[in-house]
Amino acid sequence: MKLKSILAIALLAMTAATGTLADTTKVGFVYVGPVGDGGWTYEHDKGREAVVAAFGDKVETMYVESVPEGPDAERVMTDMALKGADLIFTTSFGYMDQTINVAAKFPNVKFEHATGYKQSDNVSVYSARFYEGRAVQGHIAGHMTKSNIVGYIGSFPIPEVIRGINAAYIHAKAVNPDVQFKIIWAYTWFDPTKEADAAKVLIEQGADVVLQHTDSTAPQAAAQAAGNVITFGQASDMAAYGPKPRVSSIIDNWGPYYIARTQAVMDGTWASTSTWDGIGAGMVGIGEITSAVPADVKASAEALRDSLADGSYHAFTGPLNKQDGSVWLKAGETAADYAGPEGLAEMGFYLEGLDSEVPN
C-alpha cells in the first residue's frame, strides 16, 4: 500500500509536469454558485472569459459551477489538476482548506484562492478592497438620503462585510451627521426572495437608500417598485436598474488579475503572493454614477474615488473610535491591513455612531 501511494504521487507529479510542457496553458476555475447568478460567480466567469479573450488558443480554460464547499470541491480541484491544469482559481472562501490540501499533492500546479488567508509555496491568495467602493457609496448615500435612514443588507457578519458597513457609514456621516444605518443580516450570499423581503422591510422602515452586500438584483427591483429609493449595484454593475434606483455600483473586476496570473504561469515567473487590490489596481470598479445624482455630489464622489485610487487617501483614516467609544485610530492615522483584531483583515467591530450590535 505504501508503494502504491508513492507511485500514485509520482504519477501525479508526472502528469502535472507534462501539463506544463504542452504549449497551451490550462486554467481551471472552481465556482461556488451557478455562472448565471448575475453576481459573484458571474463576475468570476467574466474574468475567465477575459483570460480566453486575452490569450486565445494559448489557453484552455475549464470550470465547474455550483461546487459545494467540502469534499466535492477537493475532488473537483484534483480532477482539474489531473487533467493537466497549470493554474487553478478557487473562488470562494470556503475552499480554503481544500485548496491547501490539493496544492500539497500537486506541487507543480499553481493555485489561487480568493478571499482566504492561507498561503503556501504554490497557493496565492487574492481579494479585493471592496470597502473602498463602500466609502464612495456611503458618500453618495449620505448626500442623497432625505429621511436620513440608510438601509444595509449584509450577508454574514464576517470581517469583509463589517468593513464595508463601517466604510459606508463613516463616509455617509462625514457629509450628513444625522444619518442613521439600519442593518439586516440575510445570512445568505444569494437568495433573491430573502433579499427582496429585506429591502422591502428597510424601505418600510423609512430607508430611502439601500446598500446591499448580497449578490442578487432583487433589492434593486424592490427599490424600483417602491419608487423614491436609490440603490447600488453589487458585485456586478446591475446597469439594467439604472439610472434609478441604481445610481452607481461596485464591480468585482477579476479579469486583469486573472490575465496577469496566467501570463506569470506562461512566463514561469509565478510566485506565491498575497494580493489585496482596490480601486487603484482596477480590481474594484465603480460603476457609472448616473444622472439621478446631482452633479456636485457626483463630482465629489468621483474625487473621493480618485483619491482612493491614487493612494492619497485611505478609507479608514483617523480619528476614528470604536462603537464603545474607545479610540481605534488617532487623528491622521490609517488602518493597518494586518494587526490582529485591530487590523482591517480581522475587523469584527462597528465604529462609533452605528447603533446596532454585531451579531455573534
Partner: protein, 310 residues
C-alpha cells in the same frame, strides 16, 4: 433599538405578499394530499412555474400570459409524477424527490438566457380613495392581483371540498381508494386531476415569486419554498382555512424577523426561523393526540399505492 419604526399595518401588508407564493403551492398540495397522494415534488413544480411564467411574461410582455404558462408548466411537470405513481405504481416519496431534482435541473437549463432580465410589471390594485384608507387600505386594497387570486383559490378549494359532489369524491378517494373504487369512482383519474391541480397551483406560486415578489429569474430561486408549502399543509391539518393561517404564520415569521433586525433588536435569527417548524410539529401532536379529529382530517390513504386488481 427602535420598535416604533415597525409599522404593524405595513407588517401585515407585507406578510400577505410574502405568504402568497407558499399559500398558492400549499393549497394545491392540500388537494393532492386530500386525494391520498403525497407529492414531495412541490419545490420542483414551483420552480418550473417560476421559469415558465417568467419566460412567457418576458416573451409576450403580458404578466397574465406568464401566470397562465406558469400554471401549465407546473402541471406539465406534475404529469410525470402522475404517470409514474398512478400508472407505473412507483413509490410516491421517491418519485416526488426525483421530481424536485429534475425540476431544479430542467428549470435552470431553460432559464439560462433569462438571467438578469426584468419582467413586465404586474399591475397593482390601486383603487382611488379605498386604497388610501388608513390601516385597512394597505392591508386589504393595495396588493397585486396574485394576493387576491390566492385568497380566492383558498375559498374555492374550501367550497369545493365541503359542498360539491366532486369534493366528496376526492375525499372518498383519499380516505379509502379501495372503497371508492368499489363504489365505481375512477380512483386513478381523480388522483391524476388532483396532482395536476397541485402542479398548476405550485406553478402559480413559483410565478408569484419570479414575477411579483422578487421579481426576476435566477436558478434555484425558490430556495426551499416548496418544502415550506408541504409543512403548511400539515400545519393546517388538511383544512383550507388553516392553510391560510399557516402561510401567514410562516410568511409572518420571515418578515417579522427582518423587521426586528432592521429596528436594531438583537435576535437569534436561527431560533426564530426554526419556530414555525416546531409549531407545526406541536400542532401535529395536538391534532393526532385527539384521534377522532385526526380521522376526520388526515386522508387515510395518504401515500399508499393503489392498484385495482380487477
Amino acid at each position: 433599538m427602535d420598535l416604533s419604526a415597525i409599522s404593524p399595518t405595513l407588517l401585515v401588508a407585507s406578510l400577505m405578499v410574502a405568504a402568497t407564493p407558499i399559500l398558492l403551492a400549499a393549497i394545491g398540495e392540500l388537494v393532492v394530499e386530500k386525494s391520498g397522494v403525497l407529492n414531495l415534488g412541490v419545490e420542483g413544480m414551483m420552480i418550473m412555474g417560476a421559469i415558465s411564467g417568467f419566460a412567457a411574461a418576458v416573451l409576450t410582455g403580458s404578466p397574465m400570459v406568464g401566470f397562465l404558462c406558469a400554471a401549465l408548466g407546473g402541471a406539465a411537470l406534475s404529469i410525470i409524477f402522475a404517470i409514474l405513481t398512478q400508472y407505473f405504481l412507483s413509490n410516491q416519496v421517491a418519485t416526488g424527490l426525483a421530481l424536485t431534482l429534475f425540476g431544479l435541473g430542467l428549470s435552470a437549463m431553460l432559464g439560462q438566457s433569462y438571467v438578469g432580465i426584468k419582467p413586465p410589471v404586474s399591475a397593482k390594485l390601486e383603487l382611488p380613495l379605498i386604497s388610501d384608507i388608513p390601516v385597512m387600505g394597505p392591508i386589504l386594497f393595495s396588493h397585486d392581483f396574485t394576493v387576491y387570486a390566492a385568497l380566492t383559490l383558498v375559498a374555492g378549494v374550501w367550497w369545493f371540498l365541503k359542498y360539491t359532489r366532486g369534493g366528496l369524491i376526492l375525499r372518498a378517494v383519499g380516505e379509502s381508494h379501495d372503497a371508492a373504487h368499489a363504489l365505481g369512482y375512477k380512483v386513478v383519474r381523480v388522483r391524476i386531476l388532483a396532482i395536476m391541480f397541485g402542479g398548476a397551483c405550485a406553478g402559480l406560486g413559483g410565478a408569484a415569486l419570479s414575477l411579483v415578489r422578487v421579481p426576476q429569474w435566477t436558478e434555484g430561486m425558490t430556495a426551499g419554498s416548496g418544502w415550506i408549502a408541504l409543512a403548511i399543509v400539515v400545519f393546517a391539518s388538511w383544512k383550507p382555512a388553516r392553510v391560510l393561517l399557516g402561510a401567514y404564520l410562516f410568511g409572518g415569521v420571515a418578515v417579522l424577523q427582518l423587521n426586528l433586525q432592521a429596528a436594531g433588536v438583537s435576535i437569534p435569527v436561527e431560533y426564530l426561523s426554526m419556530s414555525p417548524y416546531l409549531i407545526t410539529i406541536i400542532v401535529l401532536v395536538v391534532m393526532s393526540a385527539n384521534r377522532s379529529k385526526l380521522v376526520l382530517n388526515a386522508p387515510a390513504a395518504l401515500g399508499r399505492v393503489f392498484h385495482a386488481s380487477r
